[in-house]
């Protein structure tokens, strides 16, 4: 069977000592930085991205990057449970009951539950990715310029729907991101655009500099606003192993969380976050003991953590098959692929099967490593939580400077990172979410290119986007999504959901 041949190829690529090594380094580094308080997965990946460029082999680089992603995600859950400080919004849900479990002396069990749930969800959803990727790739190969344009519009609109806060602001962030993505040189005519007359910007703004500025530096500045001491509730984690009772209680939530997460993760715009919230709501509703939620219910950790991880995994599907990022992390992956000389899209699976299946197989291996790495090393992570922040950020800044410069050896990229750090911090202070901006930045050049190509093919007729059936359907869905999020009743509901997020 094809599926098994493909998976076998993937595992043979991913399990070479060389690639296993990079997967391990990725998972370790990701967890290490992800555990450090105040640095979420997106910032972690943005900051570690330059390191992966030092690896010549694109497969190894992407495997390592994927490892960093799971590691950072897992690290975020650890801080959520131990110090009630979720690294990102999707582990905010874990913090609700996980932290309460920790306060009751069951931190070890909470961490183990998160690991077991994540591992199970990761295994199932890796299979799903392997199963769904080839047929979707086949469909994607039929796509013309008009379909790609419409698909990207849908992706951008969905990212607005899932961003917290004002919809108009999120829309403005997308448009600003698209414009920033156009800085550089017009590919059709070679005309330099928006580069302020600086020749060093004629290849466009450095993606890593924008990402590190908007996510990394803005986050550091936010943490510096209010330097309070963090209290680590738990000095020592004892008894990792769940009791028989715990196993019984976590089984069903893990299954439901996995199903929810796998389905929602494919949605563009950050399905993992939505999945975690949805799973928590479902568990609370079906539970026989709803009163226990918020006071340390193991179901409240098992469900969302599984959903979160399943979603994180299936969000690779649109990336690998269509070349469209589902969330800012996937936008970072696209940036990495382009820098490695790979054009993301349906052709990756047919032209570079070893890379494609190698990454998919390494997802599962990465999950295994996470379990092996995390449970015994929990003590070390707890110690890391006590490192004072003022020691961390100068180190992070130093690594950022070296990393960003080393991408293109362009000192102007270092000026961009300072500028985007400032802009990113200002916009976050003004309650704008940075994720849509980064998505827009990555998609800007692709969107313009496909728009122009579609218009040339249709001889200047804009109706091409609505007369071609696939394109029309995609635009129709985008319009429905936009109308739905703008409906007053949905808007209120959405605000309620994201309030828990704060």
């Amino acid at each position: 069977m094809d599926l098994f041949d493909n998976l076998a190829l993937g595992f043979s690529v991913a399990s070479t000592v060389y690639n296993l090594g990079f997967c391990f380094i990725g998972v370790l580094l990701g967890t290490l930085i992800g555990v450090l308080p105040g640095i979420g997965p997106t910032a972690t990946i943005a900051m570690l991205l330059p390191i992966t460029f030092q690896i010549g082999d694109p497969t190894a680089a992407l495997i390592m990057l994927a490892g960093i992603y799971y590691g950072a995600q897992y690290g975020g859950s650890t801080t959520a449970i131990l110090i009630n400080l979720p690294g990102e919004s999707s582990s905010a849900v874990t913090a609700i009951d996980g932290y309460q479990m920790a306060r009751k002396g069951r931190a070890g069990v909470a961490l183990a539950t998160a690991a077991i749930g994540s591992f199970f969800a990761g295994t199932v959803s890796t299979f799903l990715v392997a199963l769904l990727a080839p047929p979707l790739t086949a469909i994607a190969l039929q796509f013309g310029a008009a379909e790609y344009f419409s698909l990207m519009v849908l992706g951008l609109i969905s990212s607005i729907a899932l961003a917290s806060g004002s919809i108009v602001k999120a829309l403005a962030m997308v448009v600003l991101g698209l414009l920033l993505g156009l800085v550089g040189t017009d590919i059709y005519t070679g005309t330099p655009r928006f580069n302020l007359g600086i020749r060093e910007y004629s290849d466009g703004l450095n993606f890593v500099a924008v990402a590190v500025g908007v996510f990394g530096i803005a986050e550091i500045l936010r943490n510096l606003e209010d330097e309070h001491e963090r209290s680590v509730a738990i000095k020592k984690v004892t008894s990792l192993f769940p009791t028989r009772e715990d196993w019984k209680r976590m089984a069903a939530p893990i299954l439901r969380g996995t199903a929810l997460g796998s389905a929602l993760g494919v949605l563009p715009g950050g399905g993992a976050i939505l999945a975690a919230f949805a799973s928590y709501t479902v568990e609370k509703r079906v539970a026989r003991n709803p009163d226990e939620f918020g006071k340390g219910a193991i179901e409240g950790v098992a469900g969302p953590e599984s959903a979160n991880n399943a979603g994180a995994q299936t969000s690779f599907i649109p990336l690998l098959t269509l070349g469209i990022p589902a969330n800012p992390v996937m936008a970072l992956m696209i940036g990495a692929m382009i820098i490695q000389g790979i054009v993301p899209g349906p052709n990756v699976a047919t032209e570079q099967p070893a890379l494609f299946w190698g990454i998919i197989a390494s997802m599962w291996i990465g999950n295994v490593m996470l379990v092996i790495l995390n449970l015994p090393l929990v003590g070390l992570w707890v110690k890391l939580l006590t490192v004072p922040y003022y020691v961390l950020f100068p180190i992070i800044m130093g690594f950022c400077a070296i990393g960003i410069y080393s991408v293109n050896s362009n000192i102007y990229d270092l000026y961009s990172v300072a500028f985007f750090g400032l802009v990113g911090y200002l916009l976050v202070k003004l309650r704008c979410e940075p994720a849509p901006l980064l998505l827009g930045f990555v998609l800007g050049p692709l969107l313009e290119e496909n728009l122009r190509r579609a218009m040339i093919l249709s001889r200047g007729d804009f109706s091409t986007f609505v007369t071609r059936p696939i394109s029309a359907t995609l635009l129709g869905i985008a319009a429905v999504v936009l109308i739905v999020v703008l409906l007053p009743s949905v808007r209120r509901k959405r605000e309620e959901v994201f309030v828990e997020d704060e």
Binding site: V175, T191, L221, L224, F393, P394, L430, F462
Partner: protein
């Protein structure tokens, strides 16, 4: 009249970016929808950005939001110049002094940092990155630049 300062400022920033991109787009060839020039799509986006910015400003006069809160001024004063310092000094001073000075500068973004700690941190950071990035990964950095007698 209530004015939500955060939204007003936010909208103004978007309008300003929109004006910049629109004005540059207009200096370029717009082309036709059939063959779009380099200015066509950016002009469309820039106008959209200005309109969205105006909507946000308009909303600011209707609903009062939470206050913006304090800015990390000290953080901004020391964090943002750090990569710039690295950029400016890298060529002439070389990698070792450049990374040392940048880390040291960034250290003072926190009010809790003390000079001895910062110095030790910067020295350790310099030693580690020199070993790993220049020694281990072989990045093409000059350790000491022409100002310090390096080649």
């Amino acid at each position: 009249m209530v004015i939500d300062r955060a939204n007003a400022l936010c909208g103004a920033i978007f309008v300003a970016f929109g004006i910049y991109f629109a004005s540059v787009s207009l200096t370029m060839d717009l082309g036709t929808p059939f063959r779009m020039g380099p200015g066509f799509f950016p002009l469309f986006l820039a106008v959209a950005l200005m309109l969205l910015g105006l909507v946000i400003v308009a909303q600011a006069t209707r609903v009062a939001g939470e206050p913006i809160g304090s800015f990390a001024l000290r953080g901004m004063a020391f964090i943002l110049p750090a990569p710039v310092l690295f950029a400016v000094t890298l060529k002439d001073l070389g990698f070792v002094p450049s990374i040392f000075l940048s880390t040291l500068l960034a250290s003072f973004a926190s009010a809790k940092m003390r000079l001895p700690v910062a110095l030790v941190l910067a020295v350790l950071m310099t030693a580690f990155t020199t070993l790993v990035f220049v020694g281990g990964l072989g990045l093409p950095f000059r350790l000491f630049g022409p100002w310090l007698g390096g080649r």
